[in-house]
């Protein structure tokens, strides 16, 4: 015998060992590739977030004037604020009040601001310099001043410290978002205004203060410094409420019916295929559909969150139906049999046992669908939500902006070096909203998770 049993055994072991080392090598390579993919992905996401934060965060602070302002009775020559007299009808009072407001509106509020600036700068301003002077402040601050007076007419004759927004160009200049060495002709502010701005900044009159206007104001074109997200935020909020109220019950109900009750036949097969196809339809197509049906046929208002919500509902439905069906399908059939076996009806089985277990999956799917809808821009463009609307909607029927569309509009604004940061700030707000939605999804998942 040339080959002993022991030799064969040795040979077999060597063969296995050789194959083992290849196997280990392959496993190591695969693991390294996976890790590399994760690292690349994380780096890209980190870069994205870092760049957005770096650009956007400074926009939350804005160049703001803190200065003394004298409510000069010489300039503000109006009657006392009317009070409703006893026996006077509401209509009569309203008329009197409107007349008083007109009077207040006719006051030259700008001259008060001019005077205050002159006082603060401690300089004699010639009339030809007024234009440079007025370029310092956001142009709608005279209305802010008027509103302050309407609120509290007792300010007459007093000197108080007011907080006023600097103009967008001053903000850009102070923050260094424009090259300070550019020639005069290419600067957005005159040399005089720039010098004043620097002087006031050094004196602490212009400070970088947290920008409440970003959250409280609507979009503005005449006074870009005061442009805010309030309108867009409310518009998006209304749309989200509509999407949640419509797409979650509709989607879950359809999914439950299709998965648990519908007979399996050709018709339900076709429905299933079409739902899957709908999930892959580009969102802009839903915008077209919405424009033709809701606006063209049903005559609903243009640019209204109602229509936006309906369009986004259509877009979200397939996502929710698919997520819900997947979640229902993952419930072990033994649970259904257990319930049926002790005499629960099919509906009771679904509502007492299947849905509660499927709930976390359904909620997660729904919230991710809603979050996707929240960030959708394309379909909204087609139903007129890219219009400039300086209004905070109080109902979903009013014209409104929406957060993603606002980002789109701001990034195209010609005042680049001011709106670049503003755009990133809006993106941060939108992302924060999305992240909190996702956090909610995770929390709900944990809360309702069934422990087996």
């Amino acid at each position: 015998m040339s080959i002993t049993i022991e030799q064969r055994r040795q040979h077999r072991l060597m063969t296995i060992e050789k194959s083992l080392s290849t196997r280990h090598r392959k496993e190591r390579r695969f693991r390294r590739l996976g890790l590399a993919a994760v690292i690349v992905g994380m780096t890209l996401v980190a870069t994205l977030f870092a760049s957005i934060l770096m650009r956007g965060l400074p926009a939350f602070w804005q160049a703001t004037f803190y200065m003394e302002l004298y409510f000069d009775p010489e300039v503000i020559q109006v009657e006392d604020k009317p009070q409703q007299a006893s026996g006077e009808s509401q209509a009569e009072f309203n008329q009197r009040f409107a007349a008083w407001q007109t009077q207040v509106g006719l006051v030259n509020w700008q001259s008060l601001i001019d005077a205050a600036l002159q006082e603060t700068l401690d300089e004699e301003i010639e009339p030809r310099q007024l234009r440079d002077l007025r370029a310092l402040l956001s142009s709608n601050e005279r209305f802010t001043l008027r509103n302050k007076f309407v609120e509290d007419p007792s300010l007459l004759g007093q000197t108080i410290e007011v907080k006023m927004l600097a103009s967008a160009n001053v903000d850009v200049w102070i923050k260094g978002n424009i090259d300070r060495d550019l020639a005069d002709a290419r600067q957005q502010l005159s040399a005089q205004t720039r010098a004043w701005a620097d002087q006031l900044y050094d004196a602490g009159v212009i400070r970088n203060a947290f920008s409440t206007s970003l959250f409280l104001n609507t979009d503005s074109r005449s006074a870009p410094a005061s442009a805010g997200l309030a309108g867009a935020f409310m518009g998006s909020l209304f749309m989200m409420v509509i999407v949640i109220a419509l797409s979650v019950p509709l989607g879950v109900a359809s999914a439950v019916y299709l998965e648990e009750f519908a007979p399996k036949n050709r018709l339900t097969d076709i429905i299933e295929i079409n739902i899957n196809n709908l999930a892959a339809v580009p969102s802009i197509v839903f915008g077209l559909l919405g424009a033709s049906i809701f606006i063209g046929y049903l005559g609903l208002p243009l640019s209204a969150p109602l229509v936006g919500g309906l369009v986004l509902t259509l877009m979200t439905l397939p996502t929710i139906i698919i997520a819900t069906r997947a979640s229902l399908r993952s419930i072990p059939p033994s649970i259904r049999q257990a319930a049926l076996g002790i005499g629960a009806s099919k509906v009771q089985t679904v509502f007492h046992h299947v849905l509660p277990i499927a709930l976390p999956g359904i909620l997660t799917g729904s919230i991710l669908g809603v979050a996707q809808a929240l960030g959708e821009t394309a379909p909204l463009l087609l139903i007129g939500m890219n219009a400039f609307v300086a209004n905070v909607p109080s109902t979903p029927f009013e014209q409104s902006a929406a957060l993603p569309v606002q980002i789109y509009l701001w990034q195209g604004n010609e005042l680049r070096n001011f709106f670049e940061a503003r755009t990133s700030a809006a993106i941060i707000v939108l992302l924060a909203l999305m992240l909190s939605l996702n956090a909610l999804a995770i929390w709900l998942r944990k809360k309702f998770e069934t422990r087996w």
Partner: protein, 279 residues
């Protein structure tokens, strides 16, 4: 362990007789009767016309090789096959002389009368208490909380589980061991007080000790219930069944007292199966 079940039992039901392996409580009243039952899955015929009587308070075991149709037939007895879309049942099955497949028959009521225990323990992912209380609550068997508590306790006692779980009724039923889970499922079934309990290989997922407990339980339950069980384990049939039915290829080959089937089968195929030629 199960003293309460024994003392609660009407004395008239204690009738001694039958096989050597156990004390049978079977009567001669036909509880269920199947006449020429055929079952189809789509175009495939799974059961080829079965006639069988099931007597009150007997333990009837179905044995046979895999795929012989014994589970399929068992699930016809409380219409669990209704849940399978492509499944079609022909013939007649009666419970107390009433057709269970009649169009006006309420399947919910039927399943309250004919309970089922499955092969794999399948407690609900809820507390032990909720697992038992679900059925009675569903059928409105308890008006007040105290009544429900009573049902839960007596069901668990009858299933021989009370002593093991009485201090943790609020813990999830899925946290119990396999054997305890199966006894929980049996308790859940008897909580709705069915007449008949179907058991589809109730011990196939259990270890020998848990199996022994479940078999003892079956023996005790047969005092008040009719039990029809499918089993792969011939020793189990020999240990617990009054009568045994042998299925093969969708046919009922032979049904007789367990002793006869195991010692003196009339059919050659039964003989071959019992002696281990196939299966």
């Amino acid at each position: 362990m199960n003293t309460s079940a024994k003392t609660n039992m009407p004395s008239s039901m204690v009738s001694v007789g039958g096989g050597e392996s156990r004390t049978s409580k079977a009567t001669n009243n036909v509880k269920m009767r199947a006449k020429d039952v055929k079952v189809f899955y789509g175009d495939t015929q799974a059961i080829n016309g079965i006639d069988i009587d099931i007597y009150e308070n007997e333990v009837l075991a179905f044995i046979g090789p895999s795929g012989c149709g014994k589970s399929t037939f068992l699930r016809c007895l409380n219409r669990m096959n209704d849940t399978i879309d492509i499944c079609r049942v022909e013939g007649e099955i009666t419970l107390d002389q009433k057709d269970i497949y009649a169009p006006d028959r309420d399947v919910v009521l039927l399943r309250a009368q004919v309970g089922i225990v499955f092969q794999k323990p399948n407690p609900f992912p809820k507390s032990i208490y909720e697992n038992i209380a679900y059925g009675p609550r569903l059928h409105g068997l308890a008006k007040r909380k105290a009544e429900l508590d009573d049902i839960v306790e007596s069901s668990l006692r009858r299933a021989g589980l009370w002593e093991e779980v009485k201090d943790r009724l609020d813990q999830p039923g899925t946290g119990l061991s396999g054997g305890q889970q199966q006894r929980l499922c049996i308790a859940r079934t008897i909580a709705v007080s069915p007449d008949i309990i179907l058991m589809d290989e109730p011990c196939s997922a259990l270890d020998p000790i848990a199996t022994g407990k479940v078999e003892q339980l079956i023996d005790e339950l047969s005092e008040s219930y009719t039990i029809v069980m499918v089993t792969h384990n011939m020793q189990q049939a020999a240990r617990v069944a009054d009568r045994t039915a042998f299925f093969h290829m969708g046919d009922l080959i032979e049904v007789d007292s367990t002793d006869t089937i195991f010692t003196n089968p009339q059919n050659q195929r039964t003989h071959d199966y019992i002696t281990g030629r196939y299966g």
